[in-house]
C-alpha cells in the first residue's frame, strides 16, 4: 500500500537545526520568514499532499493519460487536484513576489517539492515544468513578455513547458533543427518537431506557454546558434486572455515505463508564432541557467520517492506476519512474527531510511546555497554559495535519483511477491523513479559534469566550499569522546575523497578518458562523504540536545541510531569507490569494440 505521512520532524530538523553554522545565513536572510511561519507552511503542504495528491497516485498510474486528436486528457481527479493546488497558492511558493509569487526561500520550497514528489511524481511535473519556464523567463525575457506571461504562470492559471529534445538530438543539442523565421514585427514563426515534452498538452490549464529552442536563419552551426523562444498555445488577446489558437499541437503521447499520469508529448510546431527570449544565439545559455535549478529539483524527485517507498515498506514489514524471529518468537500469541523482526528486512528498511535522511540533510544544505547565492548581502558568501551550488548540483541530481530508485527497488523486495503486483503500489515507485536517473542530463552526464567541469573550474575553487567545512568539522571534533568512532570513519572517507580528487586531477589532465572512467565512482564517493558529514553533525546536535535536556528525546535518540547505521553499514562503500578510482581506466578501455 502506498503509505505516506510527511516526515515533518526531520524536515524541521534539517531546515532549522542542522545547518546553522554553514555561514549561508539561511532563513535569517529572509527576516520575515520565522520558523513558526515556515513550520506552518510545511504542515499545510503535508496536508495537501497526503489528502489530495496521494489518493490519485496509484489510480493515475493505472489510468494514464489519453490522447485524442491533439487533445490530452489527464487521469481522473487530476484537474480537481490541480485546481486546489493552484488556488491555495502552491504554484508560486518560491516565485518572485512582484509577479504574484510568495517569495519563500528554496530551503522551504525544496521540502515542499519533496512532499509533492513523494505523493505523486506525475502531478509534480505539471507545476514543476511551469516553475522551470518561469525561472528562465524571469532571468532572460523582456519586461514586456514577463508582464504578459509571468503573473498567470505563477498563479498556475497557465502552465509552462520546456521544448529541447528532438527525435535525433537529446544530449547533443547542437544538432537541433527547429527553425525560427522573423516575421518582421518582432515576432517569429517556428517550425519543427520536439519529443519527450512533459505536460506539452493537458486539460488542466487554459493556456500552455512553451519555451522552445530553435535556430534563426543566420545562426552559426552547433550549440552557438541556438535561440530561445516563447510560443503560447493560445495567443493572448488584448485583455491578456487566451485568444487565437497558435500553430503548436501535440501529435501524440508516449507510453512510458512510469510517470504515466504525466503527459509526455510529441509536439509539432507549424509556423507557430513566438517571441525571442534573451539574446539571439544565446538560448542554450539561458536554458542551462534554468537547468541547474531543475537538476536539484529532479534530485528531490528521487528523495521523495525514496521516502514514500520507505514508509510503504515499513507499513508492510510491520503488518505482514511470516515466520519467527531468529532469536525466538517476539509475538508468540500471533500466528507469526511481523517480518520487521528479521535483520535482513531491517537492513533493507534502514538502508532506505539512511538514504532518505542523508539525502534530505544534504539537499537542505544545497537549498540554503541556492538562497544564499541570490540573497546573501556579503559578496564573499554569495560567491561561496554559487561555487557550492555549482559543485553539488550534479551530485544532488545523480545521487538522490540513484538512491531513490534503489529504495524503490528495496521496497518491492520487502513486499516479496506482492511487491511485483501493481495494486500493492510499490512497483509504481520503482517505475516512476527510473526516469529521474535519465532526464535533465543522464546521471552519467552529471558525473562527467562534476569531474570534467566543476572539479577544475577556477583552479578547483568550487571544491573549497565542500572540503573546507568538512575538514574543519573533523579537526574540531577529533579525539576522545562519544563521537570518536564516527569522526574516525568520516576522516577515513574524507581522506579517500581527497586522494581520489588528486588522482583524477592529475590523471584527468593528461587523459580525459581517465576522468571519464572515474567519474561516477567519484560522484558517489563525494555523495557518501557529504551524507556522512551531515549524519555526524546530526549526531553532534542530537547529543547536545540530549545533554542539555529536551522534550524530544525520541527523535534525537533515533537520529543517532540512524547515523550509526549509516556509518557502520553504508559508509564503508567509500572504500570500494576509492579503489575503483585508483585502478584507473585500463580494465574498461582494454576491450576492442568487436570483443563486446
Amino acid at each position: 500500500m502506498q503509505v505516506y505521512t510527511a516526515p515533518l520532524r526531520d524536515m524541521r530538523f534539517v531546515l532549522n537545526e542542522l545547518h546553522q553554522d554553514d555561514g549561508f545565513g539561511g532563513l535569517s536572510v529572509h527576516e520575515e520568514f520565522t520558523t513558526d511561519l515556515t513550520d506552518a507552511v510545511l504542515e499545510e503542504a503535508a496536508k495537501l499532499c497526503q489528502d489530495v495528491l496521494l489518493p490519485i497516485n496509484l489510480s493515475g498510474d493505472a489510468e494514464g493519460c489519453r490522447y485524442e486528436n491533439g487533445v490530452v486528457r489527464t487521469p481522473k481527479g487530476f484537474k480537481e487536484a490541480y485546481d486546489q493546488f493552484v488556488q491555495s497558492g502552491w504554484g508560486g511558493l518560491v516565485m518572485p513576489v512582484e509577479y504574484g509569487g510568495q517569495g519563500l526561500p528554496e530551503a522551504v520550497g525544496k521540502l515542499v517539492e519533496e512532499m509533492i514528489c513523494a505523493t505523486n511524481v506525475s502531478f509534480s511535473l505539471y507545476p514543476g515544468l511551469t516553475a522551470g519556464a518561469v525561472t528562465a523567463l524571469n532571468a532572460y525575457a523582456s519586461e514586456e513578455l514577463k508582464a504578459a506571461y509571468l503573473p498567470k504562470m505563477i498563479s498556475g492559471e497557465w502552465s509552462g513547458t520546456m521544448n529541447l529534445t528532438e527525435p535525433h538530438c537529446g544530449t547533443d543539442l547542437g544538432l537541433l533543427r527547429t527553425k525560427a523565421e522573423p516575421v518582421g514585427d518582432g515576432s517569429y514563426k517556428l517550425t519543427g518537431s520536439k519529443i519527450f515534452i512533459s505536460a506539452g498538452e493537458q486539460d488542466l490549464t487554459s493556456n500552455i506557454i512553451h519555451l522552445v529552442l530553435a535556430r534563426l536563419p543566420d545562426a552559426p552551426k552547433g550549440v552557438k546558434g541556438i535561440s530561445l523562444f516563447l510560443v503560447p498555445k493560445f495567443l493572448p488577446d488584448e485583455a491578456g486572455n487566451p485568444g487565437a489558437r497558435n500553430g503548436v499541437r501535440a501529435s501524440g503521447i508516449e507510453h512510458k515505463m512510469g510517470i504515466k499520469a504525466s503527459a509526455t508529448c510529441q509536439m509539432q510546431f507549424d509556423e507557430a508564432i513566438g517571441w525571442l527570449v534573451g539574446e539571439p544565439h544565446r538560448g542554450l545559455e539561458a536554458m542551462f541557467t534554468m537547468m541547474n535549478a531543475e537538476r536539484v529539483g529532479v534530485g528531490i524527485q528521487g528523495l521523495g520517492i525514496g521516502e514514500a517507498a520507505y514508509q510503504s515498506a515499513v507499513w508492510y514489514a510491520k503488518d505482514r506476519l511470516q515466520g519467527r524471529s531468529l532469536s525466538g518468537a517476539k509475538y508468540p500469541d500471533k500466528a507469526a512474527d511481523p517480518i520487521i523482526v528479521h535483520p535482513d528486512v531491517r537492513k533493507n528498511l534502514l538502508t532506505m531510511r539512511a538514504y532518505n535522511e542523508g539525502c534530505r540533510a544534504l539537499g537542505a544544505w544545497v537549498a540554503r546555497g541556492l538562497d544564499a547565492e541570490k540573497h546573501a548581502t556579503d559578496p564573499e558568501v554569495r560567491q561561496r554559495a554559487e561555487d557550492f551550488v555549482a559543485l553539488m548540483t550534479p551530485v544532488v541530481k545523480a545521487l538522490f535519483t540513484d538512491l531513490g530508485h534503489d529504495s524503490a527497488s528495496l521496497a518491492v523486495q520487502v513486499y516479496g511477491g506482492h511487491g511485483y503486483i501493481h495494486e500493492s503500489g510499490v512497483e509504481q515507485y520503482q517505475r516512476d523513479a527510473r526516469i529521474a536517473m535519465i532526464y535533465e542530463g543522464t546521471n552519467g552526464i552529471q558525473a562527467l559534469d562534476l569531474v570534467g567541469r566543476k572539479l577544475g573550474a577556477h583552479m578547483g575553487r568550487y571544491l573549497r566550499s565542500f572540503f573546507h567545512p568538512v575538514s574543519a568539522f573533523i579537526e574540531e571534533n577529533k579525539g576522545e569522546g562519544p563521537m570518536q568512532k564516527m569522526i574516525e570513519g568520516l576522516e577515513k572517507a574524507f581522506g579517500a575523497l581527497q586522494l581520489s580528487t588528486a588522482t583524477i586531477a592529475e590523471k584527468g589532465m593528461k587523459d580525459a578518458e581517465e576522468a571519464g572512467a572515474a567519474a561516477s565512482d567519484y560522484l558517489r564517493l563525494l555523495g557518501l562523504v557529504g551524507m556522512a558529514y551531515c549524519f555526524a553533525k546530526s549526531t553532534k546536535i542530537a547529543g547536545l540536545q540530549l545533554f542539555f535536556g529536551t522534550e524530544d528525546k525520541a527523535f534525537y535518540e533515533t537520529k543517532i541510531k540512524t547515523a550509526t547505521f549509516f556509518f557502520e553499514k553504508i559508509l564503508p562503500q567509500a572504500t570500494t569507490h576509492f579503489l575503483a578510482i585508483k585502478a584507473g581506466k585500463g580494465a574498461l578501455m582494454a576491450f576492442a569494440e568487436d570483443e563486446f
Partner: protein, 99 residues
Amino acid sequence: MDISIPHSLGRVEARRRIEVGLPKLAAHIPGGGALTSEWAGDYVLNMTITALGSRIPVSLTIEEDRLSGSLEVPALMRMMQGQVAEFVELSAGKMLDKA
C-alpha cells in the same frame, strides 16, 4: 543570551553556595561534557561548559537578589540556545538551593 536566576540570599551567601556547589556540579556533568570555571573578581564567575567538543562560555554576576549573566553558544547550537540557558539556570538554582 541573557540569563537571570532570582534568589533571596544576599550576595555573600549566594557566592558561598556557588563556590561550594561548583565542584559537585562539575563532577555530575553527563558523559562527553566538562565544566571549568574562574573567578574574575569577587562576584563575577566565568565558566566554560564543554559538551561534545563544543565550548559554551557562560559569565555570571552575583548580585544581591539575583544571579545575572549571559552565555554564547556556537552557531551550530543556535536553535538550542534556550535549552542551554535553562540548563544553566537550573544548575545554578540547584547550587543556590543547597545550604
